[in-house]
Amino acid sequence: MRQLWAIARRETRAFLGSVQGPVIGAGFLVLTGLFYYLFVRGYADASLATVRSGRPVFLNLHAGIFHKLYGDVVLFFLFLMPAITMRLLSGEYRSRRYDLLASWPVPAWRWVTGKWLSALAMAAVLLVATSFYFVLTGLLGRITDPVVAPAWQPMLTSLLGLLLLAGTIAAWGVAASAMIAHQAGAYFLGFAISLGLFLVGQLEPYLPGALGVVVHELALDQHFLSFAGGVVDSRDVVYYLGLTAVGLAVASAGLAGRRLSAGRRTRPWLTVAVVVVIAVFLQLVALRRPLRADFTPDQLYSLAPQTEQVLEAIESEAPDAPPVEILAFYQSIDGARQSARALLESFADASARIEFELLDPDTRPERAMAEGVTVTRTVVVRCGDRRRVLLEPGEGQLASAVYRVATDTRPVVYWLLGHGEARIDLEETGGATLMASALSDAGYEVRPLVLADRRVLPADADLVIWAGPKLDPVSADLDLLAAFLREGGAMACFFGPDTPASVQRWTERFNVGQEDNVMVAPSRGGARAGVDLRTIAVTEGYGDHPAVEPMQAITTTFPLVQTLRPRQRQQAGVTGNAILFTGPDSWAETDPEHRYSGIPSYDPPEDLAGPLPFGVAMRIAPADTAQEATSGGRLVVIGSSAFVTNANLGLYGNRDLALNLVGWLAEEEDLLGIRGRRTSYQPLLLDDGTKEWLGWASVLGWPALVGLAWFGLVQYRQWRH
């Protein structure tokens, strides 16, 4: 141990004290500084665009800056580490110092390991120097509003991963240096080996099954991905350590071979063979029983225990059932793609029955079309002939979908009829056949429901949709539906200005107040395009609610809208908030003369100015409790009776919104009691002065400071001794 330490220390000091040290250090920092600066600029631009659009998207400082930066450091190390290791042994041969070294009582493996440790120390020094960017980002985060801070946990795991990766490259670099007495030769051999390990993964698509998997598992960069995201996975750790051990064994064999007589030279190679066997064995164990530790602050890459139970259950209860396929359509440039991949990977890890494919709808349009996917961030879950379509699902929603598809428990949707509603068997514009087929495509069972003389609703009803009644229902029907909600049922109601007053009053039992008006949006563009003034388009007016969360920036349109809002005078146990708002240039026309005349006019104070709410989502506590409603019934009321008719459902994102509302009502996310994952939103707004200053500091200032200080120390040592 003392020998090992002495060698590592001497070698590290030699490098730190050499003139190449500060040159390599400064060069490395200029390169990383440049990339850091570019990533921060890109991130700041994206933040600005996001803040301007008012649509919060996935913005995470670690993912947006450091994940990319350290991904590039992998490449730099590919070039740099062989340069650090090349002289470690071949330099000794060339200077004939080898004769002296070999006369000291030190076994070959200690020489090799000691020198390798020094290379590792160098990599550590360089990596520690990059933590400056973390500090700098923290400072930038403090001067912006709101204050944001990069997460340190994934930063540390990234550094750990890079250190392991550097160690692996260094081990093979030392091996190359032990084989070749020529430094340049040692560099190129070391570089070729690490480049080979880096590129071997690219062969995966061209190799059949098992060989492709082997090649994928061998790839140097693949194993860094988890570390970069903040997850330490035993498969990656074992891979790097195993490959390092093999490299060091090869290096030892190369060095020991020099002083062994011909007859004994095979012996160190036997050691290499043993090390290879052990490394492969451990890797297989790790692949079979992976251990993961998620160090991200909000456990971004860990599944909730309930999810894991569900996923294990669908595997153990039906091991021979067909696999559950998950097709996720995310654009390559989408920042959310990374977290979607992580989510899907953890699903696939948790259950052998789950397979997933992450597709870019731009490069694989044929797949998107085959699945009927029109919106990016759509996820299709399939099993046999059952399928469900989800829009940007969180963990809970995805787990529910997987569970439902795997176990074929389809939620049952009842379509209320008998009061002049849109009919699901009528293919005309006023019918709702499109909605019905959209629902069954998304995995729901749709059945018509006529209350007539029923005393209770069907027991299997998960959800009732009440789309545009035209006739007054009997009060017994209204009571029945109210009881259904109080007992934990869910309803989607589409009530416009043309809906009977009795129905409108009924919603007041659940604190939803309908206002007697028609919304008017005098959009000039819309008028020119022949769009009715009374059609309300929503792009940004979505409330902060899970039912509309994935809809941000997707346009939806609503014909003939009446405003409605959660009432102040609250009924006990009913809570909720508005989820849809009209635009700022709209107003609520209250004058009965002008509602339908085509020449509306804004007459304050009777006519209220937009934005005004016209969609609400309520939760209704069970009848016998007065507690805050967290479970129990759910009610969505939209102030437009024709929204789900064939004429409107196909427009823009209407279908997606409708399915999303139904999804929320069917308690998809709460089916298993899994909380949705928080999405990260860390905008970093920088003015031009700060950007310029940042550029100078990271590309020139920091490298110059480190390089000059280091160089100064080298010179001081030279001068002093």
Partner: protein
Amino acid sequence: MIEVRQLSRRFGQVQALDDVSFRVSAGEVAGFLGPNGAGKSTCMKILTGSLAPGGGKVRIGDVDVAADPVAAQRLTGFMPEHVPLYPENTVLEFLRFVAALKGVARRDVRAHLDRIVQRCHLEEVTGRLIGHLSKGFRQRVGLAQALVGDPPVLILDEPTSGLDPHQIVEIRELVRGLRGETTVLLSSHILVEVSQVCDRVVILDRGRVVAERAGHDLATDDDLGTVVLTWDGNREEVARSLAEVAGDDAVTLTAEGAEVVIAGNPVEIKPRLVESVVRAGGKLQGLEERGPTLEDLFLRLTGAMPEPDPGDGRMTPRKDAP
């Protein structure tokens, strides 16, 4: 303490060592004598474990070097010919490093190194970078690192090469001081050096042991020496006069004067040679005595001159003796 049996080693077509056997007993100072390329360094590398033998056995103490090189290395201190050290370390850093590698107990390191530094006269340079040292000091650092750990066996490859006469004397004294407590094997191509320091000398030529002698046997009074004379005056006459004193075969004319090979005690012969120059009318300008050279020794031991290696001139014996 050192036992070498039927050692051989080949480098491609060149047989560097061929059936070399010798022993050095404990406490003895043994010399390896031979022209450059005779196989001295090769043999020493095999002894210290940095090179594998082609055949034969080497034992240091009770340890077979091939079977347990590290154990053998613990018993050995080695100073290679060109002493390539780490130029970026200071002398003390380097010696501490070697002390750690050789397993000198941590608490003893300071005292141990102090002693070695003193012994090698390195006191004034301990804090200097090795790269900044003169050749002589570097050579001494090389010797110092060999002494670290007080190994019972020291193997020194050409310890005095490239040094000035003063430094050579110092090193010689140092080695003499080791006699009795340490077994020393040193190599040289300089006869006088070896004969003055060593108890026993193994003479190598072209990878073979040519002879093994006691050190004092090598340069006796009976040995052949050479006297170089330069003078102003008639060359032929003086040469004739010299030949009368020393014999026809002994005189060789050179550009400046003549070389005279002498047998017997130079103290008696030199005045007679001076006399003969003056007698022939020459004005003596210079007289230099050279000790017996390697060629002479080889002539005497083998009856033949060492043949120069046709590949490079390195086997040609050097003529300058200290």
